[in-house]
Symmetry: C2
């Protein structure tokens, strides 16, 4: 964790933003696998990590804004706990590590919560175990918790966590350094004949040796058209493109989120190279367009336009490019959003509500297929860290449905598209930091993404 003063300052800013009342920030509990005592690896709630940095289960922070006092709430360990789990820091000691003023037992905390009435601010839960505890502490039925959560607290947390300071960027850079080593290790291997999970598990092991876990379940597949393919067991074959979407999470909880697509063989086929260049150009254009004040939705549409232009040049789309993008015809090939915020969560703060993080009063979520999946639309600001990840996919079931409906037939050349039924998918993703006047691609270690660099790396590799 960082020095105690970091958290103290963050809490002071939060209290100032919220203005008055009592703020409850609850941490995560343990989650059972197949019985209560057999639990998944513990992951602290990211907001608690941000404001306290403490990783023990079942903690809460109580911020008394009116009194300007902060409390760490939890249960002290018993001798029985010590026998089973070893000596543990007491609450006082934990509070000191995070410069928290005092400690409260959970029952003392519940007493204060009961008295707070509508002065109480809390965030909406996203785990059932949080709901159970919250409902118990607050005496509010589970189904009413979301409605009773504090909109002003959500907005204050989002405003604060959206702008990453130098310390946070350094943590993301750490995650990226490990992530680069995972990607490079895979890109330099003999891949034909390998099973997908062997590569994933080797990467998990490499990350673990560096103190990192995966920030999300990696998508490593030659079936890139399955956007979130997590099922394993695939045998990699010559001639296919391998899509690897894989990012590490550091011990402090910060994520990286990188995608590269490259040939299982040593070189791209002509068809693969043509489509790959389209995605790469779209990504580079999109990155070049990111700067403070520019709505990310515009950047998304810019990428969509670049993709559409490329597909038109290849004979897969036709008609007026702007019109095609405005009606969403390109979404047959690019059905997801260009990117999302990233930080302590790979989709940063998604638990607080995607629309709270990525939209505002001026930017409402579209209902158009494809654009509706865009997680971030509002104007970029200095300090935002976002992913830029355009892609092109050939999804048989979607192609079939649209073709049968003759959907957007003025813009899509269905006959030509059918030649790509078995193509798979391409995505290229980097993580960028919005700076004073533009943006910076994060990551000191270059992970090849031009065709020439990738073919050079694959060609030179000694497999």
């Amino acid at each position: 964790m960082f020095e105690p003063a970091v958290y103290q300052k963050r809490r002071a800013e939060l209290m100032e933003r919220v203005g008055s009342g009592l703020i409850l920030l609850y941490g995560n509990g343990e989650l059972p696998i197949n019985f209560k005592a057999n639990t998944y690896p513990f992951r602290q709630d990211s907001t608690l990590l941000y404001y306290a940095g403490l990783k023990r289960p079942n903690l809460a922070l109580l911020l008394d804004v009116d009194a300007g006092k902060t409390y760490l709430c939890g249960q002290e360990h018993s001798l029985e706990d010590v026998i089973w789990m070893g000596p543990q820091a007491g609450l006082e000691e934990l509070a000191r590590c995070s410069a928290i003023d005092g400690v409260l037992s959970l029952s003392a905390m519940a007493n204060r919560l009961a008295k707070a009435g509508n002065r109480l601010h809390f965030l909406p839960p996203y785990r059932c175990e949080q709901e159970a505890r919250l409902s118990d502490w607050l005496g509010i039925p589970v189904e009413n918790l979301k409605a009773n959560s504090s909109q002003s607290l959500i907005l204050a947390v989002v405003a604060q966590r959206s702008r990453k300071d130098a310390r946070e960027v350094a943590e993301i850079e750490k995650a990226l350094k490990v992530t680069a080593s995972l990607h490079l290790s895979i890109m330099t291997q003999q891949l034909a004949g390998r099973k997908d999970y062997e590569l994933v598990e080797e990467a998990r092991f490499r990350a673990a040796l560096k103190g990192c876990s995966f920030a999300y379940a990696p998508i490593l597949t030659a079936e890139g058209q399955i956007l979130h393919k997590h099922r394993r067991g695939e045998l990699l074959r010559e001639g296919r493109l391998l899509l690897n979407d894989m990012g590490a999470e550091t011990e402090t909880g910060y994520a990286a989120d990188i995608t590269r697509t490259f040939p299982v063989s040593k070189t791209f086929t002509t068809q693969q190279r043509e489509l790959y260049e389209i995605v790469l150009q779209a990504q580079e254009k999109a990155i070049a367009a990111c700067k403070p004040g520019r709505p990310f939705r515009d950047v998304h549409l810019l990428a969509a336009t670049a993709l559409t232009e490329g597909l038109k040049a290849l004979g897969l789309m036709k008609g007026d490019v702007e019109e095609a993008v405005s009606v969403g015809a390109h979404a047959l090939f690019f059905p997801h959003g260009l990117g999302h915020m990233m930080g302590l969560d790979v989709h940063d703060m998604e638990n607080l509500g995607e629309d709270k993080v990525g939209y505002d009063e001026n930017f409402r979520r579209s209902e158009q297929f494809g654009l509706a999946y865009l997680r971030l639309a509002r104007p970029l600001q200095k300090g935002f860290v976002v992913t830029v990840e355009p892609g092109l996919y050939f999804i048989p079931s979607l192609m079939e449905k649209w073709a049968a409906e003759k959907k957007h037939e003025n813009f899509i050349c269905y006959e030509a598209v059918n030649q790509y039924l078995d193509f798979g998918g391409i995505r290229i993703e980097d993580n960028i930091l919005i700076t004073d006047s533009g943006c910076k691609v994060l990551g000191d270690v270059h992970i090849p993404k031009s065709v020439a660099d990738i073919e050079a790396l694959r060609g030179e590799s000694l497999f």
Copy 2:
């Protein structure tokens, strides 16, 4: 999974045992890490695995005992699901894999449940997400679910799952084969100077390459006195004993649970060997005593007696051995139970209630420190698979407390015990199958446990 007929037969037996009414067996849902879409690796509920073998989230089985009909209940996938997760088997197809008669949507299932009244049998939930779904389906408040769960269903499931058939034993043998390879790989390495997590992560990787995960968080530590030490970051040093409690889980969900304790160096010290031999003798005596009809509590007490005899011979305990064991004086050094059932869960069926699995009307749980932790007390039966895992530990905080209280001072030589303050702990654990007239230690691959075998292995290893 096994052939469809296996599950059909198991369900028929369950329906016969329960006799009448409607049986609901619900599977697990996804659990969020830091936001809803970022989930932990999915683990199916073991009872659903036992009766259906299906691994998709959010399934349920409905067994209409009176009509003799079985239904697979769930939600069909949408086109959107296919875009994001790829083509998925339909419910009909899943039902066929498990020889289930028909399929029902979740709402059709909820309709039937609503009409069932007190003819409905369901198991008590152990995850909050299960509670939420159950409460929703049944219209029963979460706090009343446990009280409304079916005691006869629990007992029927426990009776059936307690006796492992040849197919299940073969799966446990598979888990043991992988587990042996993990243990042997660690036992043959240079250990001094290594970090604990390097060894754990390497083992996780090895297991994953064989299609296995860990059945539980491994306990790998030179601080064996911390019974469930999961905190990592320890540097292994010459002269210490390393305790490794590590077991694989197969793709079908069956567990192994093996502990070995051995020197970080190539040989035991005299003190280590003396204590180790006591534990090993106790374990061998306990295993030899396991047979159908013998209460496992007697085997536990037999092991406790052997440990106490050994400690007395070493001058750490004194007085009458039987009396010492009956008052629980040995629990200072052996504070946990001798073992537990094992199968689809490492603590098999613990989610249904430890007392339901390990106790009955004749065997009530003791309240004595140590014995109270025993998970299995009732008589062994043919087909049970149990762990036998005695240990000796020197737990400073417990020793300090007992010494201050002069607890059992007629049986404990506190002055001598203080010489072992920094010793750590020893545990030796194997998995046994109760046979017609005795028992069989499972695992075709021998993992050394005699001092001679361990020293030979460590001595011959080429580090």
